[in-house]
């Protein structure tokens, strides 16, 4: 009983890590341009198709993923510059609708290019298991978790320890003052979106072996990632990751131990959790309380 619960928690942390990677992407794009990017999942799917194509071309999984992350940095930057730049200064609603348009476009294009039959994606980790106490931990789960931890640490170092990170934070905080201080705001927005797309690529490649690759692969994951971003406060990268883990674990436990939820309704767990938290903390777990000034 307890062993089973421990295992559920570990699996939950693993799927939470995938939600967390995409949630981090959402938070980064949101901090850069103030837009909730509903196409983030679809962009990640396109990245995963890149990786799949690299693997088909004969590359190993790890080099393919690394190459994909690099390509996704450019892809995200290009999307920001070409498609989104125009809408960022408009009302947030128009910007969101633009991301929905992007979602439809990318969905249609990837179906057209790669087709919509399910594709097997090679796993980055071996399928073995580790035994610790009574619990069996799959290497995939552990690897996924560690990848996210590494990503968070890297991102933290980038944001807090480099000049680029400082500039990115400045632009997120106040684009107008940053521009007046001589920062290349446009380029930094592209960097923000590029980083987000890179994170999305990691999430896509981590989850693709389990879900199989098709143009709609991340529609469900996006719901979890958005819930995690909201729960974490949408401006806090750490909050998004912690919230994603909370969601992953509680989803797994609910699906196992609450008969009514079962496997098919687990998607309702992040929603219920978010409702509960937001009723008491509208700004999210880690978000700053927003004060409206007249």
């Amino acid at each position: 009983m307890t062993v089973r619960a421990v295992q559920q928690v570990i699996d939950g942390l693993a799927s939470g890590s995938i939600y967390g990677a995409l949630a981090l992407a959402l938070v980064l794009a949101h901090r850069a341009t103030g837009v909730v990017n509903f196409a983030q999942g679809q962009m990640a799917v396109v990245s995963t198709f890149f990786a799949w194509s690299f693997v088909q071309a004969g590359l190993g999984v790890i080099p393919a993923v690394v190459l994909t992350v690099a390509a996704s940095l450019l892809f995200g930057a290009a999307v920001e510059r070409v498609a989104m730049r125009r809408f960022e200064r408009e009302s947030p609603m128009i910007a969101i609708v633009a991301t929905v348009g992007l979602l439809l476009l990318l969905n249609g294009m990837s179906s057209l290019i790669w087709g919509y039959e399910l594709k097997a994606f090679p796993p980055a980790f071996s399928s073995g298991t580790l035994r610790a106490g009574g619990a069996v931990v799959s290497i995939t789960a552990l690897g996924t978790f560690l990848v996210l931890v590494a990503v968070v640490l890297l991102l933290y170092a980038l944001m807090m320890r480099t000049r680029l990170g400082l500039a990115l934070r400045a632009v997120a905080d106040n684009p107008d003052s940053s521009a007046l201080s001589g920062l290349p705001v446009g380029h930094l927005l592209m960097v923000g979106w590029g980083l987000a797309a890179g994170l999305g690529a990691i999430a896509g490649c981590l989850v693709a072996p389990k879900l199989y690759l098709d143009p709609n692969m991340l529609a469900g994951v996006l719901v979890y990632a958005l819930a995690a971003a909201v729960l974490g406060g949408f401006d806090s990268p750490l909050g998004a990751v912690v919230a994603a883990w909370i969601i992953g674990v509680s989803e797994n436990l609910a699906a196992t131990y609450i008969g009514f939820i079962g496997n098919d309704l687990r998607i309702s767990v992040p929603l219920l959790l978010t409702v509960l938290v937001l009723l008491f903390r509208p700004q999210g777990l880690f978000g700053r309380r927003e004060v409206v000034r007249v």
Binding site: A98, G101, L102, A219, L226, L265
Partner: protein, 344 residues
């Protein structure tokens, strides 16, 4: 000028009603069903427009209410043997109740909380529809041929369906138009432009946003009923997330914050796939997305707004001074630097 315009609008409406009334008598059943579908999707888009175009909240869950309304009508009539009007009321009331329950916590979120919440609704709806297969027919769906022309009319089934669907859709459009030009519409546009001003005027943004969302759900449910009445069938596919975003796309293309735009959105939703001669959902998605992005780039107010401007230009008036249900979208308003509030 204003009186002249009103007379013109009246004449166009009367002419349109006569054409629509005579039309099905000489057309094919295929076309009649198609036009009934246009009206059906136009009602769903109209509901979406109430919450998005007027209240300024993006909803990505309209297909959940569409499907819920559809299942209400099919289950109530086929499984429970309810009369049609009762099933219509159920198809409006249940989505409204669900919409309200979802909206009350969602509107507490700043920014676009509703969008994020509603994203999950179609996924939950599909899962529920598949789980309770006894009731819903599961993945195969549920057949419900509920439309039948009374003998005294001498009409065929397709003609009768056409009249019923268009009459209900017309009534709903009239209802929506009266709502958005009245007190509710003014309150919503104030909230959309500036929440602080709204609060200081005693308008509760949360209350009105929740109300708008419940109305949107009601219209979505009614559209689901119309869909089952026209097609005689409902399945989880009609609930899927893709329908929600396609409807959203066509709403923006037709014209956000415009009753006429919702109608145009319905026309486009049904006729774009037909016009390019493809029923391949992949191509359609690509096309909807491409058209949405193009419209956002070149005519952010949508086609209704562009038509309105063209009409003003032809009439020699300045843009934005005409009457009618059209409201400038938030974007065009910001562009002009004028909020509807300053005019009223």
């Amino acid at each position: 000028m204003r009186r002249h315009r009103r007379w013109f609008t009246g004449a166009v409406l009367a002419g349109g009603i006569i054409v629509l009334a005579v039309f099905p008598l000489n057309s094919t059943p295929y076309t009649n069903y198609q036009i009934a579908l246009v009206a059906t999707y136009a009602v769903a888009i109209l509901g979406l427009n109430l919450v998005s175009g007027y209240a300024g909240q993006i909803s990505l869950g309209q297909s959940a209410f569409f499907g819920l309304g559809g299942y209400c009508s099919a289950i109530a009539t086929v499984k429970a043997g309810w009369p049609l009007p009762a099933s219509f009321l159920l198809a409006c009331a249940l989505p409204a109740a669900v919409g309200l329950v979802v909206a009350i916590p969602a509107v507490r979120l700043r920014g676009h909380g509703l969008a994020i919440f509603t994203l999950a609704l179609p996924l939950i709806g599909v899962a529920l529809a598949k789980r309770y297969a006894d009731l819903t027919g599961g993945s195969e769906g549920l057949g419900a041929r509920i439309s039948q022309a009374p003998a005294w009319t001498g009409l065929d089934r397709d003609q009768w369906t056409y009249y019923v669907v268009l009459a209900i859709a017309g009534a709903l459009f009239l209802l929506a138009r009266n709502m958005v030009t009245g007190r509710l519409g003014r309150a919503l546009s104030t909230i959309r432009e500036n929440e602080v001003v709204a609060v200081s005027m005693g308008i509760s943004p949360q209350k009105y946003k929740a109300l708008a969302f419940a109305m949107a759900a009601t219209f979505g449910g009614a559209a689901g009923w119309l869909y089952v009445y026209t097609i005689g069938f409902i399945s989880p596919v009609e609930m899927e997330f893709l329908l929600s975003i396609n409807l959203l796309a066509m709403m923006v293309v037709g014209g956000m914050g415009s009753v006429l735009g919702s109608l145009l959105g319905g026309v486009l939703y049904v006729y774009i796939p037909i016009a390019v001669g493809t029923v391949d959902p992949v191509r359609t998605t690509l096309l909807y997305g491409a058209i949405l992005v193009l419209v956002l780039f070149f005519a952010p107010g949508g086609i209704a707004r562009a038509l309105h401007r063209a009409g003003d230009w032809l009439g020699g008036a300045r843009a934005g001074s005409g009457p009618g249900p059209q409201r400038p979208s938030a974007a065009t308003t910001a562009e002009q630097g004028v909020s509807p509030m300053t005019k009223t």
